[in-house]
């Protein structure tokens, strides 16, 4: 008797693996098809929703706030990720835990933390209030909530990117005349750029889909998740399905374009 697997059993194992592996793909596809079929039942509602000013405004606020939160994340998170990748001290595990905390917190708690920080009497709310910036039921509140939940996604990806850049490259750059900032900008950042961009895309996607954390500090103006929830509880499924289809098309297109940019079009070349 042959000790190895027979050709037939290898084939059936392969088929079983393919079927099991594709179950998740089928699950997502099935949900999309179900949504599409639901929307097709009432094409008029789809057209009406597409022209609904409140929906357009919610999409604009969501994407705008998400983009702004990712921009701030990149600005503040990139140096943090770089320092985390280059530092070896006892405080590092604590910093890593703090950065990853929003990942494991229920988003309502994340929203509560943001609210406590940025409400009018909160420590940051007082400071920003002095500058005329209000967070409660306001666009900055949405940005703050999206920023908070996006921290682990962006910083984690960027830190992995910087960790993969050998320190020797920066040391060589220093001996070739680059100061610490130039070595970072011309060597470390371009080489970790793909991971930074990838982290930004994921953080942006997370921000667009955020509901619980946002709603805790800013129920108004409604972001798309808040609007879908409100319409679902007030008007039922038909209205909600139409908004979901529109959002899916817009988000899907943006994610595909950004992913391609991160993985294919990213050219970290610097001009000579």
């Amino acid at each position: 008797m042959a000790s190895g697997m027979s050709r037939g059993s290898i084939r059936s194992t392969g088929i079983a693996l393919i079927l099991t592996g594709n179950l998740l793909v089928v699950l997502v596809l099935l949900s999309l098809v179900t949504l599409g079929l639901r929307a097709a039942e009432d094409p008029g509602a789809l057209a009406e929703t597409a022209l609904d000013g409140e929906v357009a405004s919610a999409i604009g606020i969501t994407f705008g706030a998400a983009a702004l939160s990712v921009g701030i994340l990149a600005l503040l998170g990139t140096p943090l990720a770089y320092i985390m990748s280059r530092t070896r001290n006892r405080a590092l595990p604590l910093v890593e835990a703090l950065v990853d905390l929003p990942l494991i917190l229920p988003h309502t708690i994340a929203g509560l933390l943001v609210y406590l920080l940025f409400m009018r009497s909160g420590p940051l709310g007082i400071i920003f209030g002095g500058m005329g910036l209000s967070f409660e039921d306001a666009f900055p509140g949405i940005v703050a909530a999206m920023l908070f939940v996006g921290i682990p996604y962006y910083v984690g990806a960027a830190r992995d990117g910087f960790t993969r850049v050998p320190i020797e490259l920066e040391l060589v750059a220093r001996t070739l005349g680059a100061g610490p900032a130039s070595a970072f900008i011309l060597v470390a950042l371009p080489l970790a750029g793909r991971e930074c961009l990838s982290g930004a895309v994921v953080a942006w996607g997370r921000a667009v889909g955020e509901f619980a954390a946002v709603v805790m500090i800013a129920y108004h103006p409604p972001v798309i998740s808040t609007l879908i929830y409100t319409r679902f509880t007030q008007y039922g499924l038909a209205d909600t399905v139409a908004i979901a289809v529109i959002l899916l098309v817009v988000c899907g297109t943006i994610i595909i374009v950004l992913r391609r940019a991160a993985l294919v079009l990213w050219r970290p070349d610097a001009p000579v």
Binding site: L171, V172, L176, V272
Partner: protein
């Protein structure tokens, strides 16, 4: 060219303490020592990449202790040569010029000129990952030269290469050092391989220099057993010394050792050790023979020479004898200064 005085770097768990070290212009100096001896830290201290806790560094006669790395005009080359993978060859070579504010067209022109001087102008538009080990070395040297460096600090650049490529790269480094008047300070584990063309060597142990001198002198008369081991000195063996009458370590330079077949008569005053021939390498009129001698403390590899002339030469795998005069034997203190 390079002088370090009273250099101290304390990392918290390791102290680098170099009382005095210097190399002259055009010299090739090896920094040898076991892992964790502080070799790489020493190079980084010279380059200004780690803060000093004391002492001074002089390059080209000028004190650079308080200058940042970018103002020291030295070339640093690590394992794999550390070419910037996101830049083309010419962009790599032009990097230092870019940092000096040289215009785009001018720096490209200068970078190509340096590449052509090193015989690799055709590589200008290639990416580092498409280059062979030898080509990467040339580009790394070109990059340092274009940035105005005439002192190269090499941190085990050949460690990841296969033996053939390593030998080619070493030959090229010797060539460029001579033709371009470069001063080279090289950290290596493979002291025996790196020895060709080397002028000077230091042995570092636990952050301190335990041997410093001309490479040939150190190999022929190592100051200590630790230095002999670090320098990969062959023919290190234990013997009972007549004076002071105790067991001690000794060495004998390969040039003083004849490896002869057992049939060959030897002089009565000679020291004769029998062993098995491991390798025979032809070197012109002589052959270098490695003989494995079994002793009470384990096997010892003896390297010596034999002439190509007789029909009773040693044969690989057969028994032969290492013969040398007692006068050629040097005692090796186990600790420095207790010879």
């Amino acid at each position: 060219m390079l002088l370090c005085e009273g250099l101290r770097v304390n990392t918290g768990h390791f102290l680098l303490a170099i009382d005095r070290f210097s190399i002259a212009r055009g010299e090739h100096c090896l920094v040898i020592g076991p892992s964790g001896a502080g070799k790489s830290l020493f190079l980084r201290a010279i380059a200004g990449l780690v803060p000093l806790d004391g002492g001074a560094v002089y390059i080209r006669g000028t004190e650079v202790t308080h200058l940042p790395p970018e103002s020291r005009h030295i070339g640093l080359v690590f394992q794999h040569y550390s070419l910037f993978p996101h830049l083309s060859v010419v962009e790599n070579v032009a990097f230092g010029l870019r940092m000096r504010g040289v215009g785009t067209r001018e720096r490209r022109h200068e970078a190509v000129a340096v590449l052509e001087r090193l015989g690799c102008g055709a590589l200008r538009d290639r990416r580092p990952e498409t280059l062979s080990g030898g080509e990467q070395q040339r580009v790394a040297i070109a990059r340092a030269l274009a940035a105005g460096a005439d002192l190269l600090l090499l941190d085990e650049p050949f460690a990841a290469l296969d033996p053939t490529t390593r030998a080619i790269c070493r030959a090229e480094l010797r060539h460029f050092r001579r033709t371009l008047d470069l001063t080279v300070l090289e950290v290596t584990h493979a002291a025996d391989e790196a020895s060709a063309g080397v002028d000077h060597a230091i042995v570092l142990e636990r952050g301190e220099i335990v041997a410093d001198g001309l490479y040939a002198n150190l190999v022929n008369d190592p100051p200590s057993l630790r230095a002999a081991r670090a320098l990969c000195v062959p023919n290190v063996f234990q013997a009972t010394l007549i004076d002071p009458g105790r067991k001690g370590w000794c060495t004998v330079a390969p040039m003083h050792v004849s490896i002869v077949s057992v049939d060959r008569p030897t002089l009565p005053e000679s020291i004769v050790l029998a062993g098995t021939v491991e390798t025979i390498e032809p070197l012109g009129p002589v052959r270098r023979v490695r003989l494995r001698v079994e002793g009470p403390g384990g096997p010892t590899l003896f390297v010596g020479f034999t002439h190509n002339t007789t029909e009773i030469d040693p044969v690989k795998g057969r028994t032969a004898r290492a013969v040398f005069s007692p006068g050629a034997v040097c005692g090796l203190p186990e600790e420095d200064g207790k010879k």
